[in-house]
Each structure stands twice: as structure tokens, then as C-alpha cells.
Amino acid sequence: MVETPEISLVAILPELALTVGAVVVLMVAVSSRRAATYLPWIAGLTVAATGAGLIAQYNDVAANGFSVSYAGMIVLDNQGIVIRTVMLAAIAVALLVGWRYVTGLGTRGGEALSLVFLSAVGFMLMASSIHFMLLFLGLEVGSISLYVLAALGQRAKRADEAAMKYFLLGSVASAIFLYGVALLYAGTGSLTYLGVFEFFSGDTLVFSDGLLSAGVALLFVGLLFKIAAAPFHSWAPDVYQGAPAGIVGYMGAAAKIGAIAALLRFVQVPFQSVIESIQVPLAAVAAFSVVLGTLYAIVQQDLRRVLAYSGVSHAGFLLMGIATGGVAEVQVLFYLATYVLVLVGAFGIVSLLEGSGSAGSPIENWKGLGRRSPFLAWSLTVFMLGMAGMPATAGFIGKFGIFTRAWSGDLEWLVIVGLLASVAAFFFYLRVVVAMFFEDGDGKTPKLGWPAGIGIGLTLVITVGLGLYPTPLLDVLTAALG
């Protein structure tokens, strides 16, 4: 007799909406001759439906508290809802600023759009999964979609190289992650977060110590690779530089959201009772990422490589919050939300200047942009300051929150490393600003359409708004997660 697991539609509503959207986009793209005119509407409807699903979930949690469904696979709680909301915001902004990428692909635009939605389904599942198998599948759905998105652009040597590198190294990372899951299962006999938690917190003598350490280490390495934390970052600069400009911001953002969501749950549930042994390696990776990302970003001559290495250091800051052992979830999520939006926005501007399918963006090209296109130049300045953590931008509040938590969590040395790196980071973030306003150049003048304008404007408002007045959002987050 089949045991039917408890099915809860509300627990997967946003994913359902995105799936339906992805399939409808595919169907319309193949069957309709005027697909290009319908795609924006379908995309808008899908985003709206996903948002409605998230609101329904929020109401459900408010009424009934958190719930577990599908035989202990999926949890519906506020943390998952917040992460999925961040994901949805990233999609919305990425589609607005990168819409030219979708239309520029011509007959492949529909495929690109549906892959964006599918990847979001995968990474959203990572946020709500409490089962290692489902986590892996979410990771794979998301990653495979991103590999294809990286390869969809123009047939240029550098773009192909980036896509191939991303695919091969990403697959190795997934394999490492899977090895970790297998060893963990061999050691604990459980694949659910709760089962692993009970195993570790029980007073049974752990007889297979090496096996478990290796398993947990491989598990983390697989995810650290996806967020491009040093020393697992080697793919990031080439991919950020070579992949189509219109989508690379979303690629970086989505992978970070999914993996950080999983890491956050890791330190909260399955590995909570062994956090002391995980904390030191995690903090070491965080420090290494922050330092290496900052130092390498300083010497880059290409804005996209600068953004890639700054992504490495941002991964370090996020890990700093995670290394505190799950007490900093509000701060980590705030940081994640503001960083990914700024990342998508900044790459939006890159794609406006260089073309949505382009690869590379030497600093040279940015000279004199302040005169040719003041709005974009000022927007990029704000985004750069936001990433650097300038006061009055959301980046400052994010960094401040993470530092405070890490300081009170006995990671003082890490905070000092982070502070030094943040100061040094201003150098490379401001270099492009200097090039835009104080150096002469006669590069291209970007044409700003209204979707990209709205997307960039929204990101600007969020970055500055949350920098000046973060209390409401922080209060909501604290109330929802605390």
C-alpha cells in the first residue's frame, strides 16, 4: 500500500507559478509567430503570480506557524519565504535590465526566459528543502539552467570558453557535493536535516569520525564553490567576464542565493550541534575570500573581473555571518538581498554600455561616461559605493550588521580582517567612478530603454532607501525570523 505523503500545495506555490510560467513561455515560443510580443506579458504575469504565491505562504505561516510537508522534504517557514522573495526580486530586476538580452537572442529568447524561471525554481527549492536529496536536485536544476544561459549568447570564443568552464567546474562541484551527501548518509544513516541533527546531538559514540568529517567537508566545499568563495573561486572571473552581459548578473545572484540559503539551514539544523568544529574552517574560508577577493580586484583591468573578485569577497562577508552559527540570519539575509540586487543592477549597466551579449568590459570603455550618460554613470557610482559599504547605502547597513554579529560571536579577528578589506575595497570600487567622471574618453554612448531604466531606478531606490532608513525592513525580518 502506498503511503501518500502529506501534500501541501501552499508550500510550493511560488515554484509552481514559476514552473507554469516556464512551460507557457516554451509553448508560446514554439507555437506562436508573434511570440516576441507575448513574452513580456507572460514574464510579468509569472512574476506577479509568484509574488502572490509568496503572500499566500506568508499568510499561511502567520496563521498556522511553520509546517513540514512531503514526507519531511519541504519546510514552509518565514526564512524560506524571505529568501524566495529575494530571488523573485532578483528575477524581476534582472529581466527588466536584461530584457534586451532576451529579445536580442531572437528565436532563442523564449528558451532563455524559461531557463531563467526554471533556475529560480531550483534555487528556491534549495531554500525550502530540508532533505539532502531534494537539496541536490534543486542545486542541479538551478545550475544546469545557468550553464545553458551562459552558453546561449553569441558564438564568441571567450563566451564559449566561459560557458564550458562554468559547466565543467560546476559539474565537478556538484559531484563533490554528492560525494559529501553519500559519505554523510553512510555515517549517519539519514538524509533528512532533522535525522542528521539528531545523530550529531545524540550521545552515541561517533564511530566513523573520519568519514563524517570528510562528508561534511565535501558537502560544504560543493556549496562554497557555487558562491565562489576562495579558494574555490577560480571559475568566477572568467565566467563573469565571458558570459553574456545581460544575464551574468542574474547568474551570479541566483547561485549565491540558493547556496547561501542552504548553508544557512546547514548551520541552523543538521550541523548545529557540531558548529564549533565547523566554525574555524568556515571562518578561515571567509577571511581568505575577503582578502583574496579584494587584493585581486585591485589589479584587474576589466570591470567585469572587478565585479567577479568583489563577488568573492562578498561571499566571504556572507560566510562571516554564517560562521556565527545561524544566529545572524537577519543580517545575512539583509546583506544577501541588498548585494544581489546591486550586482544585478551593476551588470545591467554593463550590458547597456557593452551590449547584452557582449563579453568583457575594460575600464578603458568607461572613461568619460559621466558626460555621455550622467544617469547611468551616477547609478553605477551608487551601486559601487553600495557594494563598498559606504554609509547611507544599504551595503553599509549590511556590513555593519554582519560585523556586529560576528564580533559578539567571538570572531573578532575575522571582523578586523573584514574591516581592513572593506577599506581597501574602496580603491577598486572607486576606480571605475574616477574613470567615468575624471578621465576623458570617447567610448560608446549607451541607449537606455524604459524597462532597463525602471530596473536600474528600482535598484537605486532600494540601495539608497534601505541605506537611509533600514529600520522597517530590519524590523519585519527580525519579527519574521526571530
Partner: protein
């Protein structure tokens, strides 16, 4: 050790393991793509036999049907249809062979070492009753319902990718013709 030798199942395992190891090395060292693909048949078929040893009958046959039967035939078709080099080729290797070998050996040492430390002296006592296809179906549509559905997303994403990447772009003229028709 005497016990170990007296059990026929261990002999079968030894033979299979040797075949897998040998064929696995052949897959990456062979300078001929066809030979590499055929060596992969040896690896996968022997892995299927390992599953049979663990009385996981269904998984074994799935491995044979899907991987040996379908995926590898696809590999061979792929090699033959595209203009990939089919004869003896030297350019498949590059100078980083040494590093790759070290990485592979280190991975092997890690996995084998940890398994040895953890389970080195644990005796496997029988592998239980064979799991029937019915049991598997029950758990796929019961406990593992969501992963079962999500796997189809993995396939969908890969399918879209395969088609979108392999398809030739229509020229603008052809596109206009299609719109007019």
C-alpha cells in the same frame, strides 16, 4: 582472511572491481574516442553487476538499459555523426596529465581511506531480500514524490539547453518568410 576467500561472492566482487578499475583507467587514457566509449560500457556493465550483488535488481537493469543501452549508444552516435576524430589521436591529452592523476589519486585516497577507517572491520551480513520494482514504485510516488517530480525539471532544463544550443539560427530573411507564411 580465510573467511574472505571462502566466500564466492567476494571473488565475484574482486573480479568486478578489477574490471571497473581497469576499464575506468582505459576510459581516460585511451587515445581513441571509440575505445574510450566502449571501455565505459565495461565500467557501467560491471557497476550494474555490483548492484546485482547487493540484490538491487531493478537499479542494475536500469543501469544496463539506460546507460549501457541508451546513453552510450548516443555517445557513439555523437562521435560518429559529428566530425570528432575517430582514428588514433594524440591530441586528447595535454601536459596536465600529471596533475590530473595526482588529483584523482588523492580523491581516491580520501574516499577509500575514510571508508576503510569507518567500515574496515564491519562484516556485511547478507544484503536482505531483493527489493521489488513494486516497492521502488511505492516509494517513488510516496515518500520521494517531490524529488521524483523535480528530476523531470533537470531533464527539461537539459533538453531546452540541448535544443537551443544545437539549433541553427534562422537568418533574418528566413525569419521574415516564416512570419509572413
Amino acid at each position: 582472511m580465510a573467511d574472505w576467500i571462502s566466500l564466492p561472492v567476494n571473488w565475484v566482487f574482486l573480479v568486478l572491481a578489477l574490471v571497473i578499475a581497469f576499464a575506468g583507467v582505459k576510459v581516460v587514457t585511451s587515445r581513441n574516442l571509440i575505445h574510450a566509449a566502449l571501455s565505459l560500457v565495461g565500467v557501467l556493465a560491471s557497476t550494474a553487476a555490483l548492484f546485482l550483488l547487493l540484490s538491487a535488481e531493478f537499479v542494475a537493469w536500469v543501469l544496463v538499459l539506460v546507460y549501457v543501452g541508451a546513453v552510450l549508444v548516443l555517445f557513439l552516435f555523437g562521435i560518429m555523426i559529428t566530425r570528432a576524430p575517430m582514428g588514433r589521436e594524440v591530441s586528447l591529452d595535454n601536459e596536465r596529465r600529471g596533475l590530473a592523476a595526482i588529483t584523482a589519486l588523492a580523491t581516491f585516497a580520501l574516499l577509500a581511506g575514510t571508508s576503510w577507517v569507518a567500515f574496515g572491520d564491519v562484516e556485511i551480513e547478507g544484503v536482505g531480500d531483493p527489493i521489488t520494482t513494486g516497492d521502488l514504485a511505492d516509494s517513488l510516488l510516496g515518500r520521494y514524490l517531490i524529488p521524483f517530480e523535480i528530476v523531470s525539471f533537470v531533464l527539461l532544463a537539459a533538453l531546452i539547453g540541448g535544443i537551443a544550443l544545437a539549433r541553427k539560427d534562422r537568418s533574418p530573411a528566413e525569419e521574415a518568410e516564416r512570419t509572413d507564411a
